[in-house]
Symmetry: C2
Subunit: 500 residues, 2 copies
Amino acid sequence: MIICTQLIMIPLGAEAEEKQVKDLFSYINTHQDEFVQNLKDWLAVPSDSSDPELREELTRMINIAADRIKSLGARVEVIDMGSEKLHNGQIIPFPPAILAELGKDPTKGTVCFYGHVDVQPAKKEDGWSTDPYTLTEINGNLYGRGATDNKGPVLAWIHAVETYKALKKDIPVNLKFIIEGVEETGSPGLEDLIEKHIHFFSDVDYIVISDNVRLSKKPALTYGTRGNAYFFVEVEGGKKDLHSGTFGGILHEPMRDLVYILANLVDSSGQILIPGMYDDVAPLTKEEQKLYDDIEFDLEEHKNSSCVDTYLYNTSDEVLKHLWRYPSLSIHGIEGAFSDTGSKTVIPSKVTGKFSIRQVPNMKIPVVEKQVEKYIEDVFARLHSPNKVTVSLKIGAVPWLANIDDPQYTAAKNAITKVFDITPDMIRDGSTIPLAKTFQDLTKKSVLMLPIGGADDGEHSQNEKISRFNYIEGTKVFACFFQELSKLHGDPINGMPLKN
Amino acid sequence: MIICTQLIMIPLGAEAEEKQVKDLFSYINTHQDEFVQNLKDWLAVPSDSSDPELREELTRMINIAADRIKSLGARVEVIDMGSEKLHNGQIIPFPPAILAELGKDPTKGTVCFYGHVDVQPAKKEDGWSTDPYTLTEINGNLYGRGATDNKGPVLAWIHAVETYKALKKDIPVNLKFIIEGVEETGSPGLEDLIEKHIHFFSDVDYIVISDNVRLSKKPALTYGTRGNAYFFVEVEGGKKDLHSGTFGGILHEPMRDLVYILANLVDSSGQILIPGMYDDVAPLTKEEQKLYDDIEFDLEEHKNSSCVDTYLYNTSDEVLKHLWRYPSLSIHGIEGAFSDTGSKTVIPSKVTGKFSIRQVPNMKIPVVEKQVEKYIEDVFARLHSPNKVTVSLKIGAVPWLANIDDPQYTAAKNAITKVFDITPDMIRDGSTIPLAKTFQDLTKKSVLMLPIGGADDGEHSQNEKISRFNYIEGTKVFACFFQELSKLHGDPINGMPLKN
């Protein structure tokens, strides 16, 4: 017998709910210029986490965000994250992180929002049409570094909360925030932070990340990402680079060995040639296939935006599956060889090929690593080369897959339907988003990725933007999401009691 | 019937000749500190032709050399070489070149010496043990940038002439000089200079270049170099680099195509896989084989200095032939791919592989070019890739081979025997020395490469040096060479009349 101490919150009636949504949307619509101005203020802070010279600006940005969350009535803790040592030996502080909470009603569900307020580097001379740190609105788009990644979504979430507060409405969920300032440099210290503050997550039911973009114009929920097993294969022939005139013809040239190894990793159809690589790939179920059938995806538009004429596959279904649920292998480059313009007559002594495998459920990193090592050893043995080969795994990021039957996915779907009158696409991301996996693994909580930005937002590119439409409608989605969560959470009819 | 208007110079008798050699050597020995001091003065001028900031120093160096040659009594012309446009749009003058002549006796042979007074870049912090622009003598070696390449040999030649002048001896040949200041940046303008002043070469019998080093400690004459056919093979898949997470798995990745092409160029035994590549290689004659039998070459020492444990070949004979008289193919690197340290998840859109073929007599560049193009086309066709491949020949430097039966080779051999009591090795250089071929082709004169520096002089490396011994004995070789040339030139017994 399961003893179930279920906490019940009385949901709004249908009419009251409709009225509340109307009020929320109306407030958001009428305050949108203010929300855009807030984003403008945030984008004006050059919080580029990759530039040590801007570290003070980054810390200032964290403090601005902390004050903003404090103004919602939240209890905010600004946590020292220690310091880092630069290549030149200089030690500079990491920006602090924010842990905050608003509401502690045991009858409500608790949702924790993760976001970051640091940005990628940006310089006008890199090819920006506008100043990257001055939000500029052109044809309904809000251009500026951080607009979509991730200041816009963080502010949209804050504005959604603020809307409840301004309308003096009860926020239907307890809220928590975890905001960091070094996501763009790989979130150093984040795991430690979560582990040290694991009690902070103890009463959290859902974790929401809004740090990616949609697949198309259509709203979407992201439920999975691929992993990344990044390998270096080093071939060493001697201790110094030699001249191809003086030595060409008598050496076992390391570049020759390396290109042979690299040429044997993947064939021209995209098939990875490493034995066993596909053994653990999760079989495609009927339910999963169904998700693909419904997706809005314009293959031609995708090709246009990637500037590539011909893909390996001709259908949207195949393309998406090969981006999301099958592994791929890419060769990124070679370190140690001649890579500049011009023509240098060098025989490099030590060259390192770099390639990565985007692995998928249920591939295991240690298995992949062994398969790669064994295969390269076998391929290299064919060359009878006296050179020395070393294979090393440099990044081992695992794939992430959410349970899409989890209530917060349903709540998010309903919220999106309420705002856009559409059922969102269930999408994955071919890239690694280690955060989702990190939060899922460390906190054991349900993680949802709820993007509000568009596919063409150019997160890490020049002319990053978010559309005013997505920014404002995204705010509405977040506001509705709180309501939908509370409905699922406390509604015995839906039969989804969460705290038991 | 050939009408032969032979010019006869009365050679010295054997005894007088012996006396003269003794006087010359004695003078050179007693003045060696002065010669070293002169070299010190020259090395103090940072005449690095690759650094636009040092252009004035370079011009100053040319003027110092011109004054020095003038002081021999020569008629010196300092020739304006125009200007060059830098990448930043700045226009700076090339350093002038020197054409000089000393003596116009129609009964004597005329030898023209080529040299350069610019140097490779050098900075103490690059790993020099001493200041590169301060000649420093350690254990009999004279360290400093330009010591062996090429200021040392240029001064040795000047000192050889000076020795005759100081001893008030008749210089047994007419002398010409062509000295430039941009050899290290590829001698731009040199061909033009030769063509515009082709009359300057009309009465020249021999051209001597002393701008390379020996194979071992043993004195040597260089009679051939390999060529260099440097190819770019570009594979283009799209217009912009893409992210391997977002796009990996659906693209015909250009890097995959390129490594496949590169891996098919040469096998692991060093054999070039391009059909026809060996068809035109000059067959090895018995006479040529004889030259290899006599060469002093320490294979183990060679391996030690190259820091490579295992060569493709185990005998000196095979190693030297594969460096000098057989073609080789080296893969230098890839432009456009990721080449830094670290792990970037990029799918490069356009990558350019760079490789070169050191071709040998009697391979022809246009034939090699066609063979390479055709082969890469065939290899690429196997991939059924929609990417675009472009092959282009970027450097087409032809090999050079001198006629070693030419009198000046005999004269140089005799001079070396006189100084070192040894018969020099007849060697080639695996590298391209375009100058030799340029002079031979444009002037149609006999070209001799007469190195005085040692194999371990480190021409383009840190800690460049020439040994005091080689510098001083090299001066003696040059002085003797004048005498030996005159003997061959005017000695009817040897039957080598040169002016007819």
